[in-house]
Subunit: 418 residues, 2 copies
């Protein structure tokens, strides 16, 4: 399969893009090639596919349920009791809805964290985007329970008939639900198998204060004391930390994912130290978190929120310009998930989205499509999505959309009872 | 013209809505009426039309131009020099683009502030929504220049062949561009003619500090000393104020419009005192500000931003729930512009928008369409818009869209030269 996109804006310049199999094979002027599919880019701009660095895909089922509550109350009264009703079918269809929403809004890869990860992987594989699916670990801070949990995790479980778009990982949930020994075990397991470790960390002030109380150390120092700050560690949130801890993250190549919408909505904090982390060299990605807290998977909206929030709390309108936040949401995300994508460049995987420029958000056409994407558009401006060299959406149409929405509307009554 | 909407969700309950001429004549079950137009609401929800409380409509021309700069530099190097090139045609087409964008995103009324207000009024009248168009005043803080400006303003200029959807107003720009005597004159003029006064106030810390330096008073105390805090005064921003000033606003019935996206993007401030003002009884509306600072006119996005920002800076996830921010953006906005709208209720003007529920943002259908609207959707989820009893958009299609976009793309080269 080959795709030739003619006369499209990339970085505000007109060019052609040639895709063969799953790679971008040329980005240059006047490509002549007898491609299987030709797309006229005259009224379009192309951007690298967005990478959602932290989400709980199947939690689309919880969208709009239990809003406006404190984090602990929300988890203990709304989420956890209902999660007991999860089934394979629910995770499968919830992930399908998430993928549908991600494709519609330009996301071509995501870092998931949820139960029944094989169902999530299967759904995503069918939908055509990339995903990283971890075996989730909880042990109630009890090393004995931790051993049982560990003994049940086999790398063979990660194997199966999946495409190269699917990766596996391991995810100790958080330092308030998983013992230090399980964290260490997870990092050893991940290192042995060359996979990433995905966890929540330093999300709330309560977590920070409890870490000091329980471990005598702040969250990041605690993980450091366990010896698991490593380049394959991806931590979500990271709102409550100091300069020395930023240095620990940087020195050890730890990856950080900011989730501005979730952090605001759950009131976890709003002063994400982007400049400070970036200066020290931390690789920072962007995520939406799950739909139960964010409440959508729109990475374009998340880019605007991240950029505006940086300007706002710093009282500095020059903070995190549009071009930089696009890199955070594409190149950096791809880097932390070990995906050779995040730029529209020869040799990269063909993961990208196109927007229609004949819309108010991109009018006037002013050589600033990056600004218009971040500050004026939203996910619904995405018109066409290509992942791994295949067109997943063209003119906003995706096969099977109605069936997914109907299935979720049926199954929600089995899941949510409290 | 009559419109019957069958079996639609309003406040999460199924109902029919009957519209005759420009009013909602009935909201109840099983209405039988031989209407000119019937809309099947089975997969739709209806919300009152959004009211954009503060914008500069024709500044759609400046979208994406001069981002990421400090306020003073942005105004003096990017905006004001180019505004010298404004023509009637530019204001007309820029306002048309703004109306197009507002209709597409569910806004049915807006409070404008820009040059050549009669062109803006004409464009808006043609597009079918409501607008308030002020004669804008600048006098360089010079009372003599102020007198000349005042002498040129005639109420007869406001008269013309406009529909009842068009209102006029007067807008002294800001306390750093308009003398106290012109402010007083504007309030007298407005009181005499029963119109509103629209101004920027307490937007930045610099403005606050300069007011103390120049007038010996903070911005709100300064307007209070001029005797112009009145119920027909609508002030945009109001970020820098104390408890006593909130009481002054409340006691005098002054209306306040919050513009969260603009305030973040220009780094004017992020701690809007919603709870404190609401407790004292201030009527608070929501605006997008102009596209040069926000950079779109999407009031659904603005609702999410306002709600999340309140939760975020207060570290309180219960702050400003979805239902409350919808009231701010509809009922309160209508109240401050003296429009009998803002609720879907018998006797109100027929201003409303419908969303398609068969979309990820509204899935699962969970009796929480308000949450889904504010936290999961954005302006592009709007499917149908009715204003003054007329359908302005159905199935996302608006007549003349392509022509407006083309015209703006042509004219931008005349306007922006610096």
């Amino acid at each position: 399969m080959s795709i030739l996109i003619k006369n499209i804006l990339v970085n505000n310049k007109r060019t052609d893009i040639l895709i063969a199999d799953n790679k971008i094979t040329s980005v240059s002027h006047n490509i002549t090639y007898n491609a299987d599919k030709v797309i006229d880019g005259t009224y379009k701009a192309a951007f690298p596919g967005l990478v959602n660095g932290h989400t709980h895909a199947a939690m689309t089922f919880f969208r709009g349920y239990g809003d406006d509550l404190p984090l602990e109350e929300w988890l203990t009264t709304k989420i956890w009791p209902n999660e007991r009703n999860l089934t394979d079918e629910i995770v499968y269809w919830g992930t399908k809805l998430a993928c549908l929403e991600m494709i519609k809004t330009g996301t071509t890869a995501f870092n998931d964290m949820y139960f029944r990860f094989k169902e999530a992987a299967r759904a995503t594989d069918e939908m055509g985007i990339r995903g990283v699916f971890p075996q989730l670990m909880f042990d109630n801070l009890d090393p004995e329970q931790g051993k049982k949990v560990q003994s049940r995790i086999k790398y063979q479980d990660f194997e199966g008939d999946y495409s190269s778009r699917i990766q596996f990982a391991i995810a100790p949930h958080a330092i308030y639900t998983v013992s230090g020994s399980s964290y260490k075990w997870a990092m050893d397991f991940a290192t042995e198998h060359g996979i990433i470790v995905h966890t929540h960390l330093a999300e709330t002030q309560t977590e920070y204060q409890n870490a000091i109380k329980n471990f005598g150390l702040s969250p990041i120092r605690y993980l450091n004391s366990l010896g698991i700050l490593k380049p394959n560690l991806v931590i979500a949130h990271c709102l409550w930390l100091d300069d020395d801890e930023i240095k620990m993250l940087a020195d050890n190549g730890v990856k950080v994912v900011h989730n501005p919408n979730s952090n605001l909505k759950l009131a976890s904090g709003h002063r994400f130290l982007y400049n400070e982390m970036k200066e020290k060299g931390v690789c920072i990605g962007l995520g939406t978190d799950g739909c139960s807290s964010s409440n959508n998977l729109d990475m374009i909206e998340a880019m605007k929120m991240m950029s505006l929030l940086q300007k706002g709390w710093r009282l500095d309108p020059t903070a995190l310009p549009a071009n930089d936040v696009i890199k955070v949401a594409t190149k950096n995300g791809a880097e932390m998930l070990n995906i050779n994508a995040g730029e529209i460049k020869e040799g990269m995987l063909a993961d990208m989205f196109l927007v229609d420029l004949n819309t108010p958000a991109f009018t006037p056409l002013n050589n600033n499509t990056e600004s218009n994407l971040v500050y004026a558009a939203n996910g619904n401006n995405v018109d066409t999505v290509i992942c791994d060299g295949k067109i997943l959406m063209e003119n906003k149409k995706i096969d099977g959309e109605t069936e997914i929405i109907q299935k979720v509307n049926e199954l929600v009554n089995i899941l949510i009872k409290h």
